[in-house]
């Protein structure tokens, strides 16, 4: 088995272990047990980083050219975002939310085609790194926000979580803005048009509008559980933009 696959499997296993530890802590009412989840996630991040480094060396280019590779990069962002917000807010629930989001994304990655192909001419650009990294960072923040919103709704603590969810949504929105802008500038260099109403572009704009609307709704004051539900609905749009558009609609982004 290739070195990168061993690393990815190890990272997946550690995320599942972190999730299991938290579930056990919750079920048996032993909060201390949950403390083991954070080191497990830290090790998972290291394993994922090593796996991506091996993959980069093997491919001879940044692993950003298909959905499998970009999903692993998205996963990579989930960890530092969750560590940062855990440290910043002190909310212990961020750890299981990160474990939940990472496990789900690892599961999705396992279902995708791993075949590595050389970069097609349109993707041979320095803009690829900036565009994909910013988009994946946005999706990671939205995934974490959705997982935290789900956790908050299950535990009926949406009001306490709202400020944290708002900060995550803002972070994701900023990265999505950067992703759309860099994609547009790159499109003008590669295809000769800064906007072509390609289905991926259109659904990215729709996702951007949905988060913009959610952030503006929140301006009227705390929304409680409604904000968590909205973040889950917005994340459904992220999933459609990322997966659904590729499988259901044809366009210039058919490789991504």
């Amino acid at each position: 088995m290739a070195a990168q696959i061993i690393c990815f499997n190890a990272a997946f296993g550690l995320c599942l272990a972190a999730l299991a530890v938290h579930a056990a802590a919750y079920a048996f009412k032993r909060p201390r047990l949950g403390g083991a989840a954070l080191p497990a996630l830290g090790l998972a991040w290291l394993a994922l980083t090593a796996g991506l480094a091996f993959l980069w060396v093997k491919l001879g280019r940044a692993p950003l050219s298909n959905q499998y590779e970009s999903l692993l990069v998205m996963l990579w962002f989930v960890f530092p975002l969750s560590f940062y917000f855990y440290r910043k807010t002190g909310k212990a629930e961020i750890v299981p939310a990160a474990a939940l989001a990472a496990s789900a994304l690892f599961g999705a990655a396992a279902l995708l085609d791993r075949t590595a192909r050389p970069l097609m001419p349109a993707l041979r650009s320095d803009w690829l790194i900036l565009h994909v990294l910013s988009s994946m960072a946005a999706y990671a923040a939205f995934a974490l926000a959705a997982a935290a919103a789900a956790w908050a709704l299950v535990k009926r603590r949406a009001e306490i979580f709202e400020d944290f969810l708002l900060r995550l949504a803002r972070t994701g929105f900023a990265f999505l803005t950067l992703g759309i802008v860099t994609g547009s500038v790159w499109a003008n260099t590669a295809w000769g048009a800064w906007w072509s109403w390609d289905p991926k572009e259109t659904w990215s704009l729709l996702t951007w509008l949905a988060y913009a609307a959610a952030l503006h709704l929140r301006k009227k004051g705390p929304l409680g559980a409604k904000f968590s539900v909205m973040l889950l609905l917005c994340f459904a749009l992220v999933l459609f933009t990322y997966f659904g558009v590729n499988f259901l609609l044809s366009g210039m982004h058919s490789y991504a």
Binding site: R117, P118, L119, M120, P121, A122, R124, S125, R170, T171, F173, A174, T177, L178, V181, S184, V185, N188, T189, A190, W191, G192, A193, W194, W195, W197, P199, T202, W203, L205, L206, L209, A210, A212, A213, H216, L217, K219, K220, V245, L248, L249
Partner: protein, 307 residues
């Protein structure tokens, strides 16, 4: 009026209308795209008016990030309208060695203020492609490396295949003599000598036309290329303006050429014709307005995150 234009309700209504248009267009619409419809343009105007009115109402008290972010969006929408009404795009088909100043769009032709001569067109591969032969008969499908001089036995059909010659770009010269039309893998072909049922035949098999000679043989043969992954396609051109010196340049995917306010992009080529290249010519003043909007938007977002 300004209060209504600046309202959050109007913003949500515009968002919903745009979302509805996007969903309809991408999932259901099979006719003309909604993006060209006057009502869609009106939605864009309404969105810009809403954002501008909101910014104006709060201009005195609003923070820098709020103003930059919202003004950036208005500038982007304004740029989109400049692009919509004034952008020029046409295709410029070129043949090697010939000069052209005519670009085509929607059945009309446009005379460009410069002429372009295609000096050479080439494909770059990641690695040298490998020829492969596949034999398909009742016993199944078997694949072999296609190398000149190789002899392949097909016991199930009591046949023998000898690879006589491989060419990258099949062409015929005077007297039906097979030649290489170019050094590039445009029309790869293999000449095989097939001995089956006491009969010997010399036939050409083409990678681009896999169905040939089906009725002539007791089995199917396919010639194909492996690792023929294209790295880039490149047109070497000379641009001759009405006034001023000639410009020699290479145009490739992700490497357009800017000249006289126009931009030339490498768009396509013909795999079966090494001497043909298709460029796209655009002229779009709106893009600079949009880029100014992008800059304001990103600066606004950055300041907003620092808050």
């Amino acid at each position: 009026m300004l209060k209504f234009l600046a309202s959050l309700r109007l913003f949500f209504a515009v968002c919903l209308a745009l979302a509805g248009a996007f969903v309809y267009q991408t999932l259901f619409n099979r006719g003309a795209p909604v993006y060209g419809a006057p009502w869609f343009a009106a939605l864009g105007v309404l969105a810009a008016a809403n954002i501008a009115a909101c910014s104006l109402r709060r201009a005195r008290t609003a923070s820098a990030h709020f103003l930059l972010l919202h003004a950036g969006l208005v500038v982007i929408i304004a740029g989109a309208f400049v692009t919509r009404f004034f952008r020029f795009e046409a295709e410029l088909p070129l043949r090697a060695g010939t000069l052209s100043d005519l670009a085509y769009s929607g059945g009309a032709s446009y005379k460009l203020p410069f002429s372009v001569q295609l000096e050479d067109f080439r494909l770059e591969y990641y690695a040298e492609p490998l020829g492969r032969l596949a034999v398909l008969d009742e016993a199944g499908r078997r694949e072999f490396d296609a190398e000149e001089g190789a002899v392949i036995k097909v016991p199930s059909a009591r046949a023998e295949i000898k690879v006589l010659r491989l060419v990258r770009d099949f062409g015929l010269a005077a007297g039906n003599k097979v030649t290489e039309k170019s050094p590039y893998w445009h029309n790869p072909a293999a000449q095989l000598e097939i001995t089956a049922g006491g009969k010997k035949q010399r036939l050409w098999f083409f990678s681009n036309f896999p169905g040939m000679h089906r009725g002539q043989l007791p089995f199917h043969i396919f010639y194909s290329l492996e690792q023929a992954e294209i790295k880039n396609f490149i047109s070497k051109v000379t641009l001759i303006p009405g006034e001023g010196p000639k410009v020699c340049a290479e145009i490739a995917v992700n490497k357009p050429l800017k000249a006289g306010g126009y931009t030339l992009y490498q768009t396509s080529y013909d795999p079966a014709d090494a001497g043909y290249s298709l460029l796209t010519v655009t002229r779009d003043r709106g893009v600079w307005v949009v880029y100014a909007g992008f800059t304001m938007l990103l600066m606004g977002v950055l300041l907003w995150l620092r808050k």
